[in-house]
């Protein structure tokens, strides 16, 4: 069941009405939301609901074991086993075929070809997300950031709650579980924000992302060797905007839907293309994943406490694994590796820069005298193009196509074929949005906060109708569903 469909609209109306009717009986409400979440997930394939249930139950039991034990060594063993169990599920469903194919290639290269046990493994939707949430619960219990839950329904609902189940945002156990213990409330502010986010998510996904995907990005990346530089350049800008609108659109709808059910999720995107450095970009892009990687991978690896080279190594490893998390393909590995390497280089250059140009007697030296605005503009343009370069590998089906894409930038004589004024306008508009006040959405939400239902209903209905009418026909799946 996809968010921008009538099926989901009907499903959500039923869930909204029934769940709020059950608000005085907290346990029943949670049970209902859990059943709704399994229905939502089972809409794709009922067989995988079993996997979700087993994964949730295993994490619940690991959590109970951690809660009951006091000895550090034993607790460490349990948390290690739990993480391995979670990663094994992810590894089997997501990486089995990839690793076997890679191994086969290596064996063929070495002249040691063998019959390997290839299997047709179907990737369950959202497996990367619910696995990470399971790990988040276990590690949070281990760190005593959250108490081991006695209620199995709470743990299952935390891992399976339908707004964030298939494509995030990755919600932390320490953030969500306490909300399940409180009485759910719906304030006018949550209504305003929820409606605003749902509408902004629909515009981003149904209009901007879908037009860019069908009219520009898909044809440009299908065979970049026949296109000129201008098409390729606008194509990669288009992809940068498409993936942002696709994923942040999904996150917006998820956060909005959760808000209307009385739960608060943290923001997942914060105008990422206004970043003046890659470090800043990763603080603004897919915030729930980057903070997850920081807290559960980078810091346990030693973070920046292991000296200069240790920090570079940890940055690199974190981004390398972050790239692999996105997809079982070497292009994703390259994407993560590139970001890891560039983050390290950026950190090194910044340090060298600072040491080369310290203020002398309070007087700024040449480098320090560069106006802040100028360095910010250069930083934004440079960062955006670094990110776009990496997106080419992220989007291309293979390294061959990615190289064709890069080679095509040498040809400025071929006329434009795919980039139309409308698409250029969409890209420019979406990029310009990154430089609007960060609280714009909240302001609009504030405006909606007190709208009476006779005004809110027609406004919401007319907005959905207009988005539906303007958007290209058909509903494309969200990019992050495949992860």
């Amino acid at each position: 069941m996809l968010f921008p469909t009538f099926e989901f609209g009907i499903f959500f109306l039923i869930v909204f009405v029934v769940s709020w009717e059950l608000r005085r009986t907290a346990d029943l409400r949670k049970l209902f939301l859990l059943a709704a979440s399994y229905t939502f997930y089972g809409w794709w394939d009922w067989r995988f609901v079993g996997l979700l249930v087993v994964s949730s139950l295993a994490n619940y039991l690991f959590g109970r074991a951690l809660g009951a034990l006091e000895r550090d060594g034993l607790r460490r063993t349990i948390v290690g086993l739990a993480v391995i169990a979670n990663l094994s599920v992810l590894g089997f469903f997501k990486y089995y075929g990839f690793f076997l194919e890679s191994l086969d290639d290596i064996l063929i290269t070495l002249g040691l070809q063998r019959d390997l046990p290839f299997l047709q493994v179907i990737l369950p939707v959202g497996v990367s997300f619910f696995t990470f949430q399971g790990i988040s619960y276990i590690v949070d219990v281990y760190r005593r950031d959250v108490a081991a839950q006695r209620s199995v329904v709470d743990v299952c609902l935390y891992i399976s709650f339908f707004p964030q189940l298939v494509a995030g945002p990755i919600v932390r156990a320490a953030h969500f579980l306490p909300q399940l213990e409180e009485k759910p409330t719906l304030t006018p502010a949550m209504v305003g924000l929820g409606i605003t986010l749902i509408l902004s998510g629909l515009i981003k996904k149904m209009v901007i992302a879908n037009y860019l995907a069908t009219e520009l990005v898909d044809p440009v990346f299908f065979d970049p060797s026949v296109l000129g530089a201008l098409d390729l350049l606008i194509g990669v800008y288009g992809y940068a905007v498409q993936i942002y609108c696709d994923f942040s659109g999904y996150s917006d709808i998820a956060i909005g839907v959760a808000a209307l059910l009385g739960y608060k999720f943290n923001a997942n995107f914060n105008q990422p293309y206004r970043s003046a450095s890659l470090q800043e970009f990763w603080r603004r892009w897919h915030i729930s994943l980057s903070s997850w990687l920081r807290d559960y991978l980078y810091i346990p690896l030693g973070g920046s406490r292991k000296g200069e080279w240790g920090t570079y190594r940890n940055l690199f490893l974190t981004m390398f694994l972050g790239g692999l998390w996105h997809g079982a393909a070497w292009t994703f590995v390259f994407w993560g590796t590139f970001h890891g390497a560039m983050l390290g280089i950026e950190r090194y250059v910044r340090k060298r820069f600072a040491s080369l140009a310290p203020p002398v007697d309070g007087e700024p030296q040449a480098v320090s005298r560069i106006p802040d605005a100028a360095s910010w503009v250069v930083g934004v343009i440079f960062t955006f193009h670094m990110v776009c370069f990496a997106w080419i590998f992220f989007r291309a089906e293979s390294f061959g196509l990615a190289f064709d894409y890069l080679v095509g930038f040498g040809d400025w004589s071929t006329p434009v074929q795919h980039a139309t004024p409308f698409l250029a306008m969409l890209i420019a508009g979406a990029l310009a949005f990154h430089f609007t006040p960060p609280s714009l959405g909240r302001w609009i939400g504030q405006g909606m906060k007190w709208l009476p239902s006779p005004a809110l209903g027609p406004a919401f209905g007319a907005a959905i109708f207009f988005i539906w009418a303007v958007a290209p026909e058909g509903v494309a799946p969200f990019i992050y569903f495949q992860f």
Partner: protein, 157 residues
């Protein structure tokens, strides 16, 4: 069970504040909880009413979408009735011209989406004074002549 209004409840809370346990059936709620409950009740009712209106607006404006949705239902007497009702509704919307709104918007958008660069970049700069006058006079020949260039036209090929 006795219904307790928030105002009475506040009174109860204040009266029994120092008395410890309350009689059975009387839940002790803080003023903040009562306020939250009241806010939630009002907000839920407001959103529920808004959603009903939203559905009505969508049924009115997007009857074609409704037909598309019900076509996906499985076969059965209830489903068949729903399909017939939806089609009748859509027919009525078409008869009154409401369904044309969607088609109108889509046609405008399609035209805008397919607009090439030439339409955007060439049309404006080529509008010279003579051309504007020619267009105003409805003289198509003069206008095309201006676009081709005065020298070529006068050479009379």
């Amino acid at each position: 069970m006795n219904a307790i209004t928030p105002i009475e409840m506040e009174g109860v809370v204040e009266r029994f504040e120092d008395m410890g346990a309350l009689e059975e059936g009387w839940a002790a709620l803080s003023k903040a909880d009562i306020r939250d409950e009241d806010t939630t009740r009002k907000s839920v009712a407001r959103v529920r009413r808004a959603f009903v209106i939203t559905v009505l607006v969508l049924l009115l404006l997007n009857s074609a979408g409704l037909v598309q949705l019900v076509q996906g239902l499985s076969i059965g007497p209830v489903q068949d009735t729903i399909i017939v009702m939806s089609e009748t509704w859509h027919g009525e919307m078409e008869r009154h011209g409401v369904a044309d709104v969607l088609a109108g918007i889509r046609a405008q958008v399609t035209e805008f989406v397919q607009q090439p660069w030439d339409d955007v970049l060439v049309a404006e700069p080529d509008l010279r004074l003579g051309e504007i006058e020619a267009v105003a006079d409805g003289n198509e020949k003069d206008r095309t002549g201006l676009l081709r260039g005065a020298v070529l036209e006068s050479s009379g090929s």
